[in-house]
């Protein structure tokens, strides 16, 4: 029996500074299993830093991160063990440039999960098919459009069968004509029940897919709520100003 109420990811009182600059100033948030959380906020507000803290690419200075109730920012826990359970998709795709799409997806399976080549290939082909790129298996990243690269990056993360997927502005480096194909894949994932934390200013996606929306500014969470309500009637001036800005 799945406990729908137990948070998949929980962040408690997380703080992080780079030198004198305090980027996260006490963040509390949680995502339940199967939920989609969208984070918005002005550039420099600490959104990427928060995602990086969740999968321990950055160690928080204080506060705790829990994955399915297990405290993971703990010296006894290997960060690699945590990261292989959390998929991450970057703004700039970051596909391995010397590997084909197929090998990009296979690498984590053979090196991290230690599957043999045949089994890894089977899974990788399945994941590429899921993002609609079965025919691009042998293409190198430089031979793919931005939208295709980002879908391969999603397949690479999905292949490890993560408990939660983190997306850091997955469409903001894309030409407008490629944005929808990535959002379509993400929507499909959400509908299949994937737990997701998405930093994105795509309001349409947030309204139709997200269960909850967080507005961050200056290292703190300013507003939380159901996306439609937050967009329709923001409670704070900062949120109102921000919405005005992203609507242009």
């Amino acid at each position: 029996m799945i406990d729908r109420e137990k948070p998949m990811v929980e962040v408690r009182k997380v703080r992080k500074s780079f030198g004198d600059l305090e980027v996260l100033r006490g963040i509390d948030m949680q995502v339940k299993k199967g939920e989609v959380l969208v984070i918005v906020g002005p550039s420099g507000s600490g959104k990427s830093t928060l995602l990086r803290c969740i999968n321990l690419l950055i160690q928080p200075d204080s506060g705790d991160i829990f994955l399915e109730g297990v405290k993971v920012n703990d010296p006894d826990i290997r960060p690699e063990w945590v990261r292989q359970q959390i998929g991450m998709v970057f703004q700039s795709f970051n596909l391995f440039t010397h590997l084909t799409a197929l090998k990009n997806v296979m690498l984590g399976l053979t090196k991290v999960k230690r599957l043999d080549g045949l089994e890894a290939e089977k899974i990788a082909r399945y994941e590429l098919e899921r993002v609609g790129l079965a025919d691009k298996a042998d293409a190198y990243p430089a031979q793919l459009s931005g939208g295709q690269q980002q879908r391969v990056a999603i397949a690479r993360a999905l292949a490890l069968n993560p408990k939660v997927m983190l997306f850091d502005e997955p469409t903001s480096a894309l030409d407008p004509e490629f944005i929808h194909e990535v959002l379509d894949v993400m929507t499909k994932l959400a509908n299949e029940g994937m737990t997701m934390v998405v930093v994105s200013h795509e309001m349409g996606f947030a309204k139709s897919v997200a269960d909850e929306l967080i507005f961050m500014d200056n290292g703190v969470i300013v507003e939380v709520g159901v996306p439609e309500e937050v967009f329709a009637s923001p409670k704070t001036d900062r949120m109102r100003a921000f919405i005005g800005k992203i609507l242009g």
Binding site: N55, R83, M88, N94, H98, A142
Partner: protein, 297 residues
Amino acid sequence: MRDPGRDSGWRRVWDEPLFKTGVGIVGLLAVVGLLLTALNDIGEISFDFMASHWSFLLRYALTSLEATVISFAVGFGLAIPMGLVRAFGPGMIRRGGLARGVASPLYAIVTGYAEVIRGTPALVQIFLIQFWVTSTFQGVPGISLWAGIAALSVNTTGYQTEVFRAGFQSVGQGQIEAAKSIGMRPTQTFASITFPQGLRLITLPLANEWIALFKASSLLWLIAVQELLWGMDYIGTKLNHPIDAFILGSFFYLAILIPLSRAVTFLERVKRIPGLGVAEPQRRALFAARFARLDRV
């Protein structure tokens, strides 16, 4: 106007890197051959002498090759960890704590090594190491060759360290983050990402270092290693045919270096990965575009 259909077959052959190289080398050999024949005819040089002594020089050419291959391999093995220290030492030092304690002295030593080796003449290094090795291992047969190999190894390690440093540094931070994000450990990230990508980016400078090292192996003549230059000097002086001996010896250097550098260029093109390292062969694309246009007219 030429008929594109017939022309493009030729163009394709002409565009083959191997074909072009072949034409270049054959052409060059023809010119040099004519010149040498003329010199032979007027008695300045002697083909007969060269023909009867090339096999004598072969032995010594192989010694030069041996010294180069061994020291290059030693340098390659040492330069990988040293290049890593050079590339990532500063980052670890900035992180502080234990990382800083380990990285600081290593970084200082490796940087100092690379600076000293690249900042002093190879010949001085060879003399120094030769004095030390021969006085330590007095009377061991063949010790001067091993002293020479040690000196060349010490020298090429310094240069290769810097080549690897540049290669590792040009692998993007995003690549390393992506590897981390799928749960790869630092050693796996190095073996699967940083090293293969870095190596691709430095194929050319590494080949250049091999070429420079092979030529530098002639310096070992000055510490009495019986290598190619020694062989040239020996027959040249002893048989009083210095010009013939040096021309003949030069052909050995060329016969080893030219095919090697061509092979590297060829491999680089064949094994090329789009978006990484060497640029796409532009001429081929240009020709294709031109003929595509002609076809449509």
